[in-house]
Amino acid sequence: MSGRTATGRRLVLMGAMATALAGLTVGATPAKAATVNLLETGSSLLYPLFNLWVPAYTKANPGVKITTQSTGSGTGISQSISGVAQIGASDAYLSDALMKMHKGMLNIPLAISSQMVNYNVPGLNATALRLSGPVLTGIYGGKITKWNDPAIAALNPGVKLPDHGIVTVHRTDGSGDTFIFSQYLAFSTPSWQNSVGYGTTVSWPAAPGAIGANGNPGMVNAIKTTPYSIAYIGVSFRQAIVQNKLGEALLQNKDGKFVALTIANVKAAAAAMTEKTPADERISLVYAPGADSYPIINYEYAIVKAQQPNAAVAAELRKFFTWAISPEGGNAQHFMDAVSFVALPPAAAKLSAAQIATIK
């Protein structure tokens, strides 16, 4: 880019900051080098999978370099919109307002993920507590403040709950986990829907003692070090949960059943929602109907600009995503198992492939 355009832009800057913020980008990096550098940033839930994918993929494709960053879906969304990153990893799709504002953004599901509700209650971590949307709404809303609250006790007959305050842990970074967790609360509990709603960042009601943690790793560390705490954590961190002997709750689904997070239950929920998935694939899979459906599952998205700065980058992106959603490539069973994800159902994979083809 020439110095003159840069100066010109600087002059325009002060007056037109709104446009600048909206993602004014200079598609200027020419493809001089043979290797293409891609930056992946966003979801800490998707991060462990990308860290498995990238070495496997780049080994077979030395022409591309991919940096991965665990920053939260919020960052993934905003930095792919602004073009700072080429691949925005997100557990959440873009809102209608953002889609209208930034034409040509793609939300490409790469796999299906799910979310655990975990806790660290000394003596009860081996017991799978039963929790429901309304009870979690009470806990995160600051209304249910003790573990032996009647509302929790009613769901868990026979379990000796401690008379101890609950420390809620939520994400500080803009997060797809916050998005799907708040959707679970909103879809199951009208009062949450009407007050807090859902989003990658929500205004958590004041629950004194509540801790904000950075990324899924921060959530794990926070409940690990804080007795009597509760958190929502992406399933790709299940190994860390098991290792640290933390509790994992059974959640009440739309049919009123308490279900565990198992591959079969995630698949049941996915099956109920796949057919409803529209062509742009922006749909919440949370609170799916069905007796076996696990209530908090979601598409893991790559947020990508359809219009790339140059053909080389576009070609590498198409190639990488095609590999990623293929059952022989990124969606292979051993990758999915490593992070407890579920491969895309064929119908969804087909929609993703159609979206990938539009990257130019």
Binding site: A22, S78, H170, G199, T201, S203, A210, G212, T226
Partner: protein
């Protein structure tokens, strides 16, 4: 004269960049200032609104439904953690400075002083690392529960002692970061006080400590005040270390000294990417307003420091 002019052009970059940053903050946050009004600093609610809803127009500004920005909890967290840091750091800093300047034999003094000065250079994130990996578990598991039981009757010291991440921990880490600054500056000042001051005090029949405490220390009072205010400025703006040990509280005021908090500087780091998702751009501008408020506070503190030093200097000159 042309040398001076060329030099002035180069030298002007410093003031120019400061003005650019200031101007940028003011201009950029202006829509937020208008929308948020005074409630920004008097209410406690950072709420982007419904990020998946359609933007509406309120007060002539496009916003998300339900958006409200109030950062009283951040201002409280920032000021309280700084206050705790000062309460811990000033006595320790003064003590360490007197010890270094008056009690240590000259040949060790250089090495010990050197040690203190090196500490001032340890990066913020390393303090944060220590706080996160060592101090938080230690305080949360062993110290705070005991403190809560023993001192529980004192307001603000009782109640739930939490996880170890919070106000007091942030204050302690901050105090460690500013103690070297206070100690090193004050030591230099004490050493620079003429020997004759001490000797004449001694001639009046006071102990050596009394000479230091009642004669030398008052002599360097203005420097102590100046460096304390300087340290305040540093603590107010400290980011990484606080981010790692504060517990990142959102939307509530700390009920006690163990409670999680957040500070303005840490909040800017942790919220910028969330804010960028507000399609109306108001969240980012409100964050600029946080930066503006922080800048105004630190500008105030710095100006105060200069004013105090200037006045004290005048008085000292007259005496």
């Amino acid at each position: 004269m042309s040398f001076r002019r060329v030099l002035a052009v180069f030298a002007a970059v410093l003031p120019a960049s400061l003005i650019a940053v200031r101007l940028f903050l003011a201009v950029y946050s202006w829509p937020a200032v208008r929308f948020n009004g005074l409630g920004f600093i008097t209410s406690t609610s950072w709420n982007l609104g419904n990020t998946y809803g359609s933007p509406i127009v309120r007060n002539g500004v496009q916003v998300l439904p339900g958006a409200h920005y109030g950062i009283l909890f951040l201002i409280a967290g920032t000021l309280l953690s700084t206050l705790i840091a000062l309460v811990i750091a000033v006595p320790i800093g003064v003590g360490a400075a007197i010890f270094l300047a008056e009690a240590v034999p000259a040949r060790f003094r250089m090495w010990l002083s050197f040690f203190v000065e090196l500490l001032a250079a340890v990066p913020s994130v390393v303090f944060g690392l220590w706080g996160y990996a060592v101090l938080v578990p230690l305080l949360g598991h062993y110290v705070f529960p005991v403190m809560g039981r023993v001192l529980g009757f004192v307001p603000f010291l009782g109640g739930s002692t939490g996880s170890g991440s919070g106000l007091l921990t942030a204050g302690i880490v901050l105090s460690l970061m500013i103690v070297p600054l206070i100690a090193a500056t004050l030591r230099d000042a004490i050493l620079a006080e003429p020997m004759v001051v001490r000797e004449s005090a001694a001639a009046l029949g006071v102990t050596r400590f009394e000479a230091v405490w009642k004669v030398v220390l008052p002599g360097v009072r203005k420097i102590l005040i100046g460096v304390t205010i300087l340290a305040t400025g540093r603590a107010l703006g400290e980011t990484m270390a606080v981010l790692m040990v504060s517990g990142n509280a959102l939307n509530y005021l700390p009920p006690n000294i163990y409670s999680p908090i957040s500070t303005m500087a840490a909040f800017i780091v942790s919220q910028l990417d969330s804010a960028l998702q507000d399609p109306t751009g108001l969240a980012v501008r409100s964050l600029a307003e946080v930066a503006l408020v922080l800048s105004v506070i630190s500008l105030g503190v710095n100006t105060l420091a200069r004013l105090v030093l200037y006045r004290a200097g005048l008085k000292a000159a007259r005496v």
